[in-house]
Symmetry: D3
């Protein structure tokens, strides 16, 4: 990710959290006094967002860092993740924004890793969706990769997904795929959303690049897998919860996309403690 | 909230989700064709973010709306929340961003309402924290209010919270409060974070405007309540989960602040269906 | 394209062209006086950018438009493209910015249409590249489509192109494609840049989604076409000028990408005349 | 030009070209690996935009540069212009944006230098216009200066140009100049656009600071030159192409302004090669 | 001034003044209730900024206005300037920002008008400087015009001012003017700052477009006026206060520029009263 | 204040003052030539804005500074405040913006210090208001603190002020305070604006956190002070000029808020001289 891409997001976050001044720090702490603090894991999971969290401090002043664990690594309750050393006013000023970022991103990476573990050995991969928190998509998708997942398309411009409205407007799957193929560039894949085996058959015949099995039960998905026999990647999608994940993966689908990875994130507990 | 405040956030979200074009819609759907869609609740909870969700469409083109339920109202599985009528291309272009917003905000309002219900009758109110998703604070804090909660300070500029680092640097709670009172304006409240009854006593004597009881057990909190006997509002804070909420409220504290309301949000399920 | 996406670009252009005020208009023309002007084609070509050009005026005041020709249509010397009616001060204020946009975009559409015509009947399509004018990519790529061309990838995030540096770092084409396939999401196509038939063979075997034939002569390209026998789309690229275009197309390649379409644009002559 | 002025333009260009990530580089290249590359001229011309092109890399990471040729200097096919050394991922990430800028700016400088050479010895200078690519005006006008040309006004606020609409609204050239002189500040020059010798005479009598000869033939321009006998600078303007440039210059006009310098730019070929 | 130019400034001002919400209005006033208020002059002076002040409300909601006095007109204590009708919440939300703008701008216009009156009949005009409040230059310079003054250059790009540092670096006034004339475009005027009659003579001989008399006494200025005998406009500058203004004007200088017009503004008292 | 908060404001100011280039400096001064200049006080007062003024140069190039006086310190005519050493082109480019900032901020600090001195020994403190210059609030409020004053609320979100419209809409002071207390968070203070002793009594009984005495005469204010006998802070407000300040302070009010501190600023004279 480009350095300044993150900078803009961090600046907005700091403006939101600090506004003009930090009265307690500005009026009580000594200018230029140096302090050192450590990022401490308070649970077990997968780390994500350390560079972003440290960047918060770089934007506020001169800081030095030591990193002990890196994005994508397992982290355990009690681990020291990194240390931060710099002016104590700016340290306290950036603390909350820094933690809000690393906790959110590590929460996603941890949940993704759990999903990936559940489907281990089945050949299915775990993917994210466009169900993200506004403004946070790039960081959220990066966290999914850190947790071992795959990224679905980033936005509406980089792959084409045919849903019922597009299909109806075009007079069926075959015509929709055909028309779209004649228009999009050669680097674009076309995915067709299907709701039953009839539609899967039609999408297969129309040479869709990917077929999405939308809210199907496992039995139907198994039939779809057999029907397509590896000619096209199949993506299971639609309200797939943790407890059904293994069963879905065992149907033989190639990708399982899960909105909850990014729309229902549980923050991962990390604290920042000033070292005496 | 000012209209254009939301506009900037929505535009960033749309740029993130659409980027340049929506290939499927742009290449397959007819220009200017009008469609009508309904926001449908898929669960029970409290609605929040409808105006923001509809604003997405206003920024994309000419749309008409009908509202049936308003922010802060209870909503039930199957309820039609509102209808949206306008050009089908822009309708599909804005769909995901609109849903991402209303689902996130309704998720917060619903969780807050559950917490408020749990403390009903105790005199304690539920408050949010600064543990928010970067860029989303104003919308998240508005959602807490819609769920019946109260807003803690918005940022570091609008109230002063004295934590251990400030207190140590100033030579104790008494000196810290004194020094800060001589510096901040007359509209600013000073809250002191305490970790034991000794500190509560000192904060009370120093005439703090609010005393925070940080990670105390219920027994200690009860003693703090007796000690202060209503002279100063007491805020319980620190990892308070749903199952301990009632017990905390019954200690007699005035405010219970809960980070999870905004840092660990579960999206509330709402869909947008095109009406044939 | 989203309405506000263009708005930001237009506002930057207007600030650049007007800065604070238009002295001649502000000091000499009557406030609120209404004038009507026509966009007049001064050459033959393909129109592109009319909506963008008219949007300039909408951002400056209340204007009414009549459109006679639309984006993608042929236009002839002397044709009236549209009329604009509104306050004369704002009309003059926006004139240059409006013309700069429509002339640039129509220049691209016209040049693309010429290229498309040259390859007519060969089965090859004409595509753009990432060689665009900074800040203008979306408008330039839209103009290519209006001229009958296809869009190559918009940016580095939406398709993966393997060049020599990536290939060398990975230990060859086969390993590079394999490694990348294991990492990118299922919606991403992988294109491999090749410089000779050996590399074409290896890319074909590695199941690249697209093979680029980089700066090859027509004879080699013909052999590549035979070698691949339709199993993968082939893209000819690298300094392909107008006079060699037909020959390249007749080799049987599927796509011919041309940087000059967007990096060396000849403005298409359109004027805006006030109607007495 | 102010450093940060260029930074904003470069950031927009990078966001456009990279969006979130460069998949090929991010997934295949080693973090922190250093590479060195050279900017290589592929044609003869005048260099422009080197600092801007190198600034792209500075915004992405830590880079070192060696410069061998500077803006405004002649450059020959095969010349090494500069070298860039830094992290290979960021090197590839910035490559296209960097080249798009330096090729465009050098294209303008080269074309300007050709025009300047054509009028050599006549006393006429070559100037640009406001017919620029939206968002690129400052860089384009800087390139014109690098090529030996002069800048016409930057925007509508820094000099006043009286065209037919202003003149008609004011009741003739004399009245228009008079009225404007009474209103604008003392640092503003007033240029009057004329279409025949009558108007030239009136503008001269009205003491215009500059007289533009709009779309006149060479004979008329010569008469205008005699008529004004050096009392006011004369600017020839309106569709002046390369082949008529010398003849126009020999009429004795002082300035020849050419829209094509900036509206119809041919990119100058420069490549960036990684050095093994 | 372009509509959206002001919009950005107003939005920044509103964000600064309102931040997220107006608690008093949002929690106590009825949604959608309509109120009407009047802008009331509390002193005598010249009105400026009414459109800007009203635009504040347009950005916040649907408002209707009646205007009774317009920018540049005299206004008297007790005059109703305009009325505003719209939703009471947004009315109160925008009140302070609206008044801050109109009071500042009217303050400048009023002070300018006083200066203009003081020099009446002398032939000297009153001009502003670049000594403006950051971010407010365009509005401040517009206010000077409303008060009957003239605008000096807007910025460093639109006219060239030669000061001692430039002159020393170039080897004297003559060489500096000569060198600059050979470089700047034909629309640019060159003003030379002088500190004594020797320098005035040199600047006159060098054919400067304007000569600034910097911090000279009235006697010296009179001599400069005689010396130049109308061949070049003379600008008096440097700490010219109200009480010496008439004397300066009577020396025969053409322009008197006064920094205090914009750097030491006294707000003009206007209130906004809700009409019962 | 956060570093980048000031950066954005400075960049806007520089764009406004420089626009593209500084012609005189760019065309006449040698690239990279180093110069040293000193900030010189031309009057007696209180310094404010030095860091902001120096930051201007840091944003333009590599500069070194020596500071001799710091924000909040007394400064005397002839004092050298600081020196700046760096490239002379950028030094001249930033000069005006730097001075505009430090002169404005020192003007506020100086005026505040004068007001503070006038009330010395009375127990009253001097506070600012929301009557600020758009875009400058944070810097202006910081200057008030440097002059020894206190900050009133920063914006409408961080404290609640009940005015007549809110009170009327709620059915009186008692009901308005009650309703608002039930809605705002526990960190928010409620101030009530009163116009006579009846309202003071009601506000006192309603347990307002602060009572504002709006435009009362000194006699009435004295009675209000007695009436409240120290139970609630009293703020005197409304057109309080320098000559009545002492008398107001002697009534026993706790805070005197003065709009003129920020809405009618007299720039403090500081110059920047290049040292030979």
């Amino acid at each position: 990710m480009m350095k300044f891409y993150v900078d803009d997001l961090i600046k907005r976050a700091l403006l939101e959290d600090v506004n003009y001044i930090d009265m307690a720090a500005d009026y009580l702490l000594e200018d230029g006094k140096i302090a050192k603090a450590k990022f401490l894991a308070k649970a077990d999971g997968v780390l994500c967002g350390l560079d972003v969290a440290l960047r918060v401090f770089e934007l506020l002043g001169d800081f030095k860092f030591e990193r002990f664990i890196k994005d994508g690594d397992r982290v355990h309750n009690g681990d020291i993740i990194a240390t931060v050393e710099g002016p104590v006013k700016e340290l306290l000023e950036g603390e909350r924004t820094s933690l809000n970022l690393i906790q959110h991103m590590s929460g996603i990476a941890t949940a993704t890793a759990e999903a990936v573990k559940l489907v281990h050995g089945t050949g299915a991969s775990i993917a994210d969706t466009r169900k993200t928190i506004p403004g946070m998509r790039a960081l959220q998708k990066y966290a999914v990769v850190c947790g071992g997942g795959k990224n679905h398309r980033f936005n509406l411009s980089d792959a084409a997904m045919l849903k019922d409205n597009h299909i109806d407007a075009s007079g069926g799957i075959t015509k929709a795929v055909e028309k779209l193929k004649s228009k999009v560039g050669h680097t674009v894949k076309i995915e067709v959303e299907t709701r039953n085996l009839e539609e899967v058959k039609e999408a297969l015949a129309a040479q869709a690049d990917i077929i999405m099995l939308d809210n199907m039960d496992c039995k139907t998905m198994k039939e779809a897998v057999q029907l397509c026999s590896g000619k096209v990647p199949l993506e299971a999608s639609g309200g797939i919860t943790t407890d059904m994940l293994r069963a879905v993966a065992e149907t033989g689908v190639n990708i399982i996309s899960i909105g909850a990875l990014t729309h229902s994130v549980k923050a991962f507990d990390i604290s920042l403690k000033i070292m005496k």
